[in-house]
Assembly symmetry: C2
Homo-oligomer: 374 residues x 2
């Protein structure tokens, strides 16, 4: 294997696959990145058994020059650090004596012990017959707007992922920890000929969203019973799926509400932020909301520390008033997912879910359960 | 107690004293900030028994209006969070029923449980007869250029601080963990009539350097046998001193060297940074340096990972060559303390300390011990 490559091109590829380098030392070869130089491209692969990332770099005149084909596994952490810290424009790679990797520039020479590609596990990155198409920017939005609501508790594995429920041209994305729910409903450009109801581990899809470039690209979703392969132009990202039946959450979202309020999002957010100063994570950061005509009062209190009260003017859709308590932390996280100017808070009843929506982001619904304080 | 204050003025004062709020719950009252409103100023005090910080805010027309004198202790964490998160320009403070603190703005009202000032420990912030004067920018430099070299190991307490050795108009500042030494020698503008040889805990003086404003101010050092009081215009900062005799390090710095090299600092730094990629903290990040005429070679190797070699052109003061090994981490930290373009590396011998100096920063000397590799 022998090639010369512009440092920044290699670094970009290494950075992408590095998210899948295993940090557990169970299978040492998985701490490596597989370099495959064949035909007119270099394929980099990393896998920790949970996710696999493969990135393809195509030969390009004056930027990536291939001299000899070949394959080798290089320790991921070191090759990434070398590519980061070299300051030269180009880097030379060469494998000698089968397993010695020489990485060199004008004044630097690294001589690393490689591992034979035969020791790398076979990873099946097959495609499915039916594909679902999604834009990469939309996928980033889904992750930003829903992932925070998934559960951290491993005793309900299915709630630690994001649910994708696909039927025809409708895709419903859900995340819930059973105290709140984030839901985004998307109309797909191209109808899916099969229906799917899958759960992707939250951590894995967050990692995918981080390595997507800022350019909007088409992503091909290849869904199997136990895994999903996201295919982009030069990137493959495969994740396991979480087994189990995702709860049906549609009945939580009522068609009619009791009363709703429209407010400036930032104002409402900062009022809750202040009122929750005296609350603690331990008691779920409970704050009390009360409307009285066009004035909303938010309160919280702690016997030890003291109490706080804030007022703000609001616009309601009718004359009904409400008194309800909820977790400030959950409400703030739900509000943050709307980057809109205004937000609508829908109340169904004092012991019914609170629904957050926005006229400027109709595909997104957030739900926060109230907390009984009496 | 009753006053109205511009939020940003109060916040600045609270931020400064907050570094001394106790986070251990041994003495609950020390988690509070003492507010003392007397005459024409508000004095804020916080102390964790190790350091005490006092900040004085003077009444100012239209910005800080005093209505009623008084004293109270308010829980530090909460009052700081309230001042941070309020968005109003002014905040009102009022104590009612002796111990209820009302913090309010137009739409917000916090009602906190205060603690009587009688419960606060008496802290003696006396001044000494003899004073040592130092500019605040110079103190920041001393901390930046020496503190990193102090020890983290509590079994040699005296090495966990910065040593100030003052005689006449000379002040020598030392920090060492016995593998390296940072020394800054300053000529004081005003001679001290007493000599001192004290050790200030590293953590404490780092905290002081963080709260010094960007303006250059004069600091008055009031030194006692067991404590030091730094006095600025509106700020008092008192720290305990570390007991024990600081080692005499002057004999480590020889008058004559065997050979020295002049190099661009950033180039040398980045070469060491790369050569140390394959080393580990466990084996002290050992790299080997070798000169051969005007070429310097840096090498490191690890049986498991591989080896690396870098070359760079250098200017030497004579034709002698050297071969020496040292900790890349320690050398890089020493280099970082010079923000000069060039740096001089002085060699005394293969098993003698390496001295780092710069023509553009003559008051600073860094020393790194070599590591025997044979």
């Amino acid at each position: 294997m022998k090639f010369k490559i512009k440092r920044e091109i290699l670094l970009e590829g290494l950075n992408k696959v590095s998210k899948a380098i295993s940090t557990k030392n169970l299978i040492p070869v998985l701490a490596g990145i597989k370099f495959d130089l064949k035909g007119k491209s270099l394929t980099l692969t990393a896998s920790d058994n949970d996710i696999t990332i493969q990135n393809k770099i195509n030969a390009k005149k004056d930027e990536f020059i291939i001299e000899d084909e070949g394959s080798i596994i290089i320790q991921g952490r070191y090759v990434l650090d070398i590519a980061r810290k070299l300051t030269d424009e180009f880097i030379n790679f060469e494998v000698i004596d089968d397993l010695k990797v020489i990485i060199s520039t004008e004044n630097s020479e690294f001589n690393l012990n490689g591992i034979s590609e035969r020791e790398y596990p076979t990873i099946n990155l097959e495609e499915s017959k039916n594909k679902v198409y999604l834009s990469s920017n939309l996928l980033k939005d889904i992750v930003y707007e829903t992932a925070f609501a998934a559960s951290n508790e491993e005793n309900k594995p299915v709630l630690t992922g994001i649910n994708f429920n696909i039927a025809g041209n409708m895709m419903e994305c859900n995340a819930t920890d059973s105290y709140r729910l984030a839901r985004k409903v998307i109309t797909l450009d191209k109808e899916s000929s099969e229906n799917y109801n899958i759960v992707v581990p939250r951590h894995n899809i967050v990692e995918l969203s981080k390595i997507l470039s800022s350019e909007d690209e088409q992503i091909e979703l290849n869904i199997f019973s136990n895994k999903i392969l996201f295919k982009l132009d030069n990137l493959l990202f495969q994740s396991r799926l979480i087994n189990g039946t995702y709860p049906n959450t549609s009945n939580l979202l009522p068609k009619e509400d009791f009363m709703n309020i429209t407010m400036n999002l930032l104002d409402f957010y900062s009022v809750i932020d202040r009122v929750s100063i005296l609350t603690s994570d331990k008691d779920k950061n409970i704050v009390n909301l009360e409307t009285n005509g066009d004035v909303l009062t938010l309160k919280s209190s702690s016997a030890e520390i003291g109490k706080v009260e804030e007022k703000m003017n609001i616009t309601k859709n009718n004359k009904k008033d409400i008194k309800i308590s909820f977790s400030a932390k959950y409400m703030m996280e739900a509000l943050k997912s709307f980057s809109t100017e205004d937000v609508e808070i829908h109340f169904i009843g004092e012991i019914k879910p609170i629904i957050i929506k926005s006229k400027d982001k109709e595909d997104l619904t957030q739900l926060v359960l109230p907390i009984r304080t009496y």
